[in-house]
Amino acid sequence: MKPSSKRTGISFKKVNHKYMKKALIFMFFLSLIPFFSGKTFSQQTEGTIKYLTTYDWVKMLNACDYLSKERKEKISYMWGNRSEWKIYELLHFTAKKTKFEESEESADPREDDGYSGRKETFFMTCDFENNTMFDAITTLGKVYLIEDSLRKPDWKILNDMKEVAGHVCMNASLTDTLRNQKITAWFALDIPLQVGPDRFFGLPGMILEVNINKGACVITAEKIEMKKLSTEFDLPKKLKGKKISSAEYHAVLKKFYDEKRQAEEFPWGVRY
């Protein structure tokens, strides 16, 4: 639809503009949550985003190009409406660095069945100031400590807008050839921080939603809490694992994906 008639346009824009200015002044004086601002305030901008991550294993299998059509159809038929599991994940952020980890809160009511599984060692950190990353990821039953320089994903900017967690976002896409994934990310137009969940960052605004392989995995911001962070960036004191570079880690994954492709099995055992 064409933009509204001129009259509506004007009045709307004015209201919007006034609102923004008012909000700015208000926030400036309260100096509490000045995240509407640009570079001036971004250094004081810090907090935690709570993401709800929904995995759908039937969609994960469906996105796997080497599995037979017959098998995918059968799995979709038998499990298609019951294949989701949900977790909460947290992104602690400042303008300079982020840490992404799993929340202790369970998101799936079915999980409270009296059994507690082991939490895998997992966190991902980005340091934008020094352009470095340090991740600890349990992969194939082994903890890898991945230390390297940060490499920005090759985002393509798309043309859709929607609201996520109260923020108007635009979308961008990414193709991960290693994992065979098509990724759509939604970044906030009013939070100019290049942070994001999981291995995603480097967009002009905070990434509030990521959709991998048409819903096989959806990471959606549920709550953005601006607060002073204290111990959130601390790393576990005991951290055992194999130190490895990003390229070496990708080689480990590549070998495994190739073997699973050969065996015609889904690559369970690595982070999606």
């Binding site: 639809m1 064409k2 509204s4 038929y77 599984g117 082994k142 859709d160 929607k162 002009p204 690595v270």
Partner: protein, 943 residues
Amino acid sequence: MKSTRKIISILLFAFSIVSYAQTPQRVTIKGIVKDNDNNEAAFATVMLLGPKDSTLQNFTQSNEHGAFTFNNVKNTSYLLKVSHISFLPLQLAIEPSNTAINDLGAVAIKPIAKELFEVVIREAKAPLTIRGDTIEYDATTFKAPPGSTVEDLLRRLPGIEVDISGNLKSQGKDVKRVYVDGKTFFGDDPTGATKNLDANTVSKVQVFDEKSEQSKLTGVDDGVKEKAMNLELKEEYKKGSFGKVTAAAGANEKGVFRWAGRGNFNRFDKKNQLSIIAYANNINETGVNWEDYSEFKGQSTFDQYDNGDFGFSSGRGRYYSFDDSDSPMNNFDGRGFTNNYGGGVNYNFDNTKTKFNVSYFYKNNNQKYDQFNYKETLYSDSSFFNYDTTNYSDYRQNHTLSTRIEQIFDSNNIIIAKANVRYSSIGASSLNNSIYSVNDIDILNDLFTNNSNGKYSWRLTSAAIYRHKFKVKGRSFAVSAAYNKNPGDDNEDLYSLNRFFINAYEEIIHRMSAKDYDKQQIKSSLLYTEPLSKKFFIELFYNFNTINNKVNRQITDALNNDIRIDSLSVFYTNDVMINRLGGDVRYSYNGLNIMLGVAGQYLQMKGKYSVDKDMPLLTEPINKSYWSLSPKFTFTYEFPNNMWLEFDYGYDVTEPSFEYLQPVPNVSNPLYRTEGNINLKPERTHNIGFDYHYYNPASFTHLGVNSSYNYCANGISYNHNVVMTDSIGIVTVSTPDNNSETHNVNSWMWIGYPIIKTKFTNDWSLGFWYDNSGSYINDVFNESNQYRYYLNTSFSITPVSKLVIALSGRASLIDSRLSINTERNQFIQSYTAGLSLKWQFTKKTFFESNFDYKFYRTSLYDYDENIPILNASIRQLLGKKNNFELRLAAFDIFDKRKYIQQYSSQNYNIRSTAETLARYFMLSFSYNIKGYETKLKKDRHFF
């Protein structure tokens, strides 16, 4: 020539300098973002994208005055993109600049219509897609009631007006044309599509400006733009149907006709699944296979395992009641020949809140076999032998109707209710001739029986479970109730002729047995969980269970005017009531789960026995009650690298069943008589279980151990008294008693690993089973020690994707030791070597074959039999989409298949053999709606 080159190179050099000067390598791009009314737009997101693929190159934000700058960026073509909340994203092509500073001046952005922004983005939370001046959004987020037309839907959409006669306006302008999926629908009348299409078929609505019809015709753009609308239809990817049908016919060389047919059809959409299935054959497929069954049940396949009998969180489900005995799956026991047919219909409704299933299945089986038994019964340093020949045939059918509903009210409240009704009838006749001999040579007597029976029964099982979670994390409550009823009657005609050879003598017995029974069960359970902290929990449960059994078995003498035989007729009522209260403390955190609990149970048993209804009681009524206290401990631990360990201990007290207590003897054969024992005490059993699993996803290796040990201090078993009676022959009277300690070990170990990853894998499994028990045989204690060893190995070889080879070996050894007669201990050996081959030798042609060589050895009886079984088939896919399959198969090419079973139990060794379906050839033709896969299945997937 040389000079010319020089000149050219100099010229080129000079030219390059000039061009360098004209287009600098780095550039600063700046501008000011303004809106329609020339107001500065602060804090807009400004991006530099690659012009071809929109790859993000650089980004910044406009300052409070709308100004933005990209300093020192590569001087090349860009797409400048400006995004701002509530504005249409703007794209601007930028060419390489001739100057070091490329000032774009004012960059104007247009606002998104307020109604669209507020209603679509803020309220409907739907994405807006912007393509130049076209805005589209997901129309499915604006729900129209079922049966609505597109017109009704459009009325709900922001920015669109629909007048009384159905004319459309967008942003105040008339919509001249309506397209459906980009194509004209019903000519030029825009209302043609909107009035006729169902709203639920539309996924997206697009409104855009289009050149006028006039300019389209003339090709000259007259500048007039007209509004047009496109309706994009939903991709119905989740809707469809599938199914297949097979017809097969064949014979063996003796001309016995073999046939089979089966088919299934499923229709489904996102929420509904409807399926029908049917089969009929005379090739011993008594039901459907797992693949067809799971397709038939669809999403409800794994729904039958709800358990409302709450207990210890990992208890062994002592009160589990939903057995699966009427499953429509193939359960042929290996003996004889069968005719089978059956079919069913299943419906599932499945959305996030409600899961509903209703299913009906009819099954009809007719089995006939001739079985030969060779049995040696041992007692006090002596034994006797039986040679039995049985001719058996039965006809059984059942109708099963089952339903289940699961309703999730919210994440804290859930109800599950289910019911299953079955009607079954069985008619069977059995002719049996049993020769008795004390030394395996001379015949003592010969018992001939001719029994036939007809059984009819109804069964209802029903249960409901409600679970509630409180706001406090970890606090929950659940309640369940169940009602089961099972009435039926059995009528038997029992004829026997016993001939004696020592003193030539004959005895004929002909009795009629009429039994009707009614079993009813009501039970209920409660469970409450309270968190003590983040890691500690308390669980409390209560079980109530009452079972009422009423049986009337009247036995009459057919040779004596059908007069009732009082000594064998019985009318009894048995009532059991169980109250069980238990609790445990559980620690659960990060892979470590420990539970310690105890349950107290009070069990009351009441039984009354008389010859018939309204007759005086035969004995004092049984009135027993048992009080018991059982502890329970479980420990599970998950190691960091895909390794799991589990250990559990439990103590169970099991009351003697009424079958053991019953004071009236059970005599179905004149030479065997089973009596009851009212003085039995409950069995007290300690169980220990151990479980270990390891999986290495990187090396494709897995390993597991599963072990359990039971110890019972006073196990109930039958004592046998074998008496040589001149007038009747060898009579065995069996009476149960709390005889001895029993020990039982059951242990499995398995390992699988690749020799060459994805090409060559090897699996091993090793089993050990030990059972120790004892009973008195003619007042001499007989200790039975049974040792069983199993070893399986297989090699799976996939050199290329068109060839799958499997080699396997199996060994099963049974070492049976009975203390009463150690010379008659038998050692049963059976070994199988197997080879299977699947070969896709053209794109659509497959060869499949498997060969098993089985060896049976029992030295005690000089039994030695080798059975080679070879099957082979070739199948061809036909049709463009491979919808058809033609298959020629040869089963048991060596014509050797046979039923063989050997074991030892209590005080006897037995071997049973029976003929069954051996060699035949079959041609089958199949049609599959979706088409067959043109790839070999690797057969490693459970579903």
